[in-house]
Symmetry: C2
Subunit: 230 residues, 2 copies
Amino acid sequence: MRANDQTEIRVLPLFRSMTEDAFDNLMRGAYVQTFPPHVDLIVEGDPCDFFHIVIEGSVELFAAWNGRETTMATVSPIASFILAATIKDAPYLMSARTIEKSRIVLIPSSDVRATFSTDLAFSQAIVDELASCYRTVVKNSKDLKLRSSVERLANYLLRQQRDQGNRFDLRMEKRRLASYLGMTPENLSRSIKVLRAYGVEVDGMSVTLTHIADIEKLAKPTPLIDDKDS
Amino acid sequence: MRANDQTEIRVLPLFRSMTEDAFDNLMRGAYVQTFPPHVDLIVEGDPCDFFHIVIEGSVELFAAWNGRETTMATVSPIASFILAATIKDAPYLMSARTIEKSRIVLIPSSDVRATFSTDLAFSQAIVDELASCYRTVVKNSKDLKLRSSVERLANYLLRQQRDQGNRFDLRMEKRRLASYLGMTPENLSRSIKVLRAYGVEVDGMSVTLTHIADIEKLAKPTPLIDDKDS
DNA sequence: GCAATTGCTTGATGTTAATCAAGACAAAGG
DNA sequence: CCTTTGTCTTGATTAACATCAAGCAATTGC
């Protein structure tokens, strides 16, 4: 693992408050690997051997059952995934695959657990991270259960607009977005068409929102579902 | 707060590994209250003032948006709720109301945060609890996104069967169960009727599963969605 | 005892979303 | 270059689910 990679992930809230010693020690067993696009990193049900951090590229978390598959989240640099499985030493609940060429840090799960059982600062950082993850998934559930597919799309676009401005790129393929939003690709296409009347212009991956007020009237965004933290 | 109540909640994994001193200290600011049925305990969006523990009765966690409402979970003794909001000092994401007459322990959130910032054992217990909560919600999302409403009901019944035996009581009203499972009461009625062909007999709140193998063939339960821990 | 209420069920109907099928388009590879 | 492949879109159809309306116990309150 290059020193460069270490300084990159050092800034993560998870690691920021650790002592230099504890961090170095944790990094001793870690290594970095670059994966091509569309490579399976982990499979749901497998025992959790490594804690993962994406430092380049992007990773899709997905789940499957009975021949069906759904996208649960996409992870972009710099962020970690499957912390909960690592902590509990439990099987992965989700599978992960690279979307594009990705650089991933792998830390043996047992090292993470060992560190967290002695280091108060690290343990507190983990609490904070897990609490955030939990709240994100709860918001996601509310989105799914309380909103129609067009409403979910409208709110998704508004969230992107808030983070990236009135003109932005969908950061994933439409089929993946559809799955993430809990609908079929065909339905996403039609939902986009519905939103044209609300000033949504989509050209390939590029989206422009021309009448924010209109789409907000439809989407009715709320911090309790759509804000990152709160 | 009665000494009796303290010994009751002391057995919670959250508190079990704390020192006597730390626990007593945390309990100093806590108090117990008994609420009648159908009383609102917390409202989503409100600042998180208290960490809650149910020691008698039961509590419904629900969320609302745009005039719609959905049941997110029910909490039965002895268990806590809204730990994540407490830790993050963030607004509640869910509302809570008593289902029946309930005895609830209220611990000031600031006390919980103060304790967790100095006590390694407590902080680790919180990590474990949050990781479990997170995995529960992820399983819930998978259930919602990957299964039809009949499949969700079938798996719900199998989970109850696993915990309570072949003959068991629905522990909540059907309207609440319907909402929890992400469907309307009418649809739950019809789903139950569909499952009659698979050996599901429902009489009021009492359920009997006469052909487990049949319903399992339909429900296809998996530990990665349906097990409590794993 | 008898309204009045509440929760559940059923049927009819409407809406939403999934599926099936086909074609347009673009990127990738020989 | 042309085929191949995959994605996206569109239309037609079907399936799943929600809504509306009515009726039926069972309970509650007077």
